[in-house]
Amino acid sequence: MSSAILRCQRLTVRYGPTVAVEAVDLALTAGEMVALVGRNGAGKSTLLRALAGLTGHEGTVVRDPRACQHPRGEVRVAYVPQRATPRWDMPISVRRAVTAGRLPPGRRWRRAARTDGRVGGGALARLDLTELAARPVGALSGGQAQRLLLARALAQEPDVLLLDEPCDGLDVASVAALVGTLRQLADAGMAVCCAMHELRLARGACNRVIAIDRSVLADGPADQVLSPGGVAALFGLAGAA
């Protein structure tokens, strides 16, 4: 556990009187691909947003730069929101949307420099978007749009990748391609944590599954957590597996 890049302790998020996430302890390490599962409203999105620094919370979230595959003195966390979040009718090209990932703190008032162009181009190529780079973002299919969001995250050159339901609404082929890409990224040393519905996917692609319902129900190897007698079954999650 000492090699955790991102670790939270006693993480609790409240929306007014409602407790969305309660006393969550978890740690992500480089090179692993983690599935975050739970029923609708279990707090998956809230937990990811808290880890990404988007939501006020109680408890601690610690980033450890020494645990990164390529230590740079800071841990970069990239967050991929649900596909419905962005304004897809915005008049921008795919390339410009991906380049937004190159907007690091402190330099954000400057235009994309040459490095930014190179990294952005790399991210586009990585997700097979090079041919679509000049397209308006509004003209993309669901799978292409999800790839755009992932490419934008890659343009941030992250150590940790947090994804909120990236497979929702995609066809089978797109899901397979996406999961394959995420797997490769994890194998290359990134810590990937992905909220998902599809338990079959979680079992097939992920080293580790965390089941939550406000707090952590189970955290362990996919086979154990999602086994017919496992904790997830108690909550009706295993039925889908």
Binding site: A52, G53, Y79, P81, T85, M90, P91, S93, A100
Partner: protein
């Protein structure tokens, strides 16, 4: 009358020259700001700010303060009120805008009626491009330089926060600050436009050319350039047409700007047809 004379004759009058420069400046500034209003779903807010600003200008006139500062303050109060009503009272956004805008407008009407010079104030409030002074012309040129420069410098941040504000926050961009800046910028355009070329022309130039430009292109730089050009041409053509037709300038410019949207819809439909065939 020959085409050249149609263009040149009105410009022999100094007030028409000032009106032309002022209208051109607002015709560039308002659409360039308006692109962000349309992209961020702030069209109704912009419209309602036009009403709310009445309260600020009336209060400023009563207190003897600068009308510009009063109008801008009202725009900010309006934005804060809307945010408060949406976040705290959980009102739907359009209801919040409607309630806040009408409330401030009503206060403004009362303010105008209790001021000692309501007759003079109503003339200050609703500018007329024909009576624009040299100082007004300088103000709208400054406005248009500020708006264009701010958009050019901050384009990446504006794009990132407009396309995906949640993601922009993970990049440590202070989206609240950017949102406020956008609303203040729109407020500035509306206030300056309202007191110089008139409220109708200012509001229409914020919305219509930007809408037309977005129909014609999906590249943000091209949309900004198109919006500015469409706004400036609607302004100038409207001013000249109003001169020759003997009609008030504000409504003619507004009608032309809306006609640009109709033309853009047509052009896009035709292009789609051709692609389909």
């Amino acid at each position: 009358m020959s085409g050249i004379a149609w263009l040149v004759e009105p410009m022999s009058y100094p007030f028409m020259q000032r009106a032309a420069v002022g209208t051109l400046a607002v015709g560039v500034a308002a659409p360039v700001a308006g692109v962000w209003a349309t992209s961020r779903r702030l069209v109704y807010l912009t419209d309602a700010m036009g009403h709310a600003i009445l309260a600020g200008v009336a209060a400023a006139a009563l207190l003897g303060a600068s009308l510009l500062v009063g109008g801008l303050t009202a725009a900010l109060v309006m934005a804060l009120l809307v945010a408060l009503l949406v976040v705290r009272a959980r009102l739907p956004e359009d209801s919040a805008i409607g309630v806040a805008g009408q409330g401030l407008f009503a206060l403004g009407v009362i303010g105008v009626s209790v001021s000692s010079q309501p007759r003079a104030l109503s003339h200050v409030l609703f500018g007329n491009p024909l009576t624009i002074s040299s100082a007004d012309v300088a103000a709208v040129i400054a406005l248009s330089v500020i708006v264009v420069a701010a958009v050019a410098v901050c384009l990446p941040v504006l794009v990132a926060t407009t396309f995906d504000p949640v993601h922009a926050r993970t990049l440590a961009v202070r989206t609240g600050l950017v949102d406020t800046a956008v609303i203040v910028g729109l407020g500035l355009v509306v206030v300056v436009g309202l007191t110089t070329v008139g409220v109708l022309m200012a509001l229409t130039l914020c919305i219509a050319p930007a809408t037309a430009a977005r129909l014609l292109s999906a590249r943000v730089t091209r949309v900004l350039f198109l919006a500015g050009s469409l706004g400036a041409s609607a302004g100038l053509a409207g001013l000249l047409a109003s001169y020759h037709l003997g009609l008030p300038a504000g409504p003619v410019v507004a009608v032309l700007a809306v006609a640009e949207v109709a033309a853009a819809v047509l052009a896009r439909t035709c292009l789609r047809r051709r692609h389909a065939n």
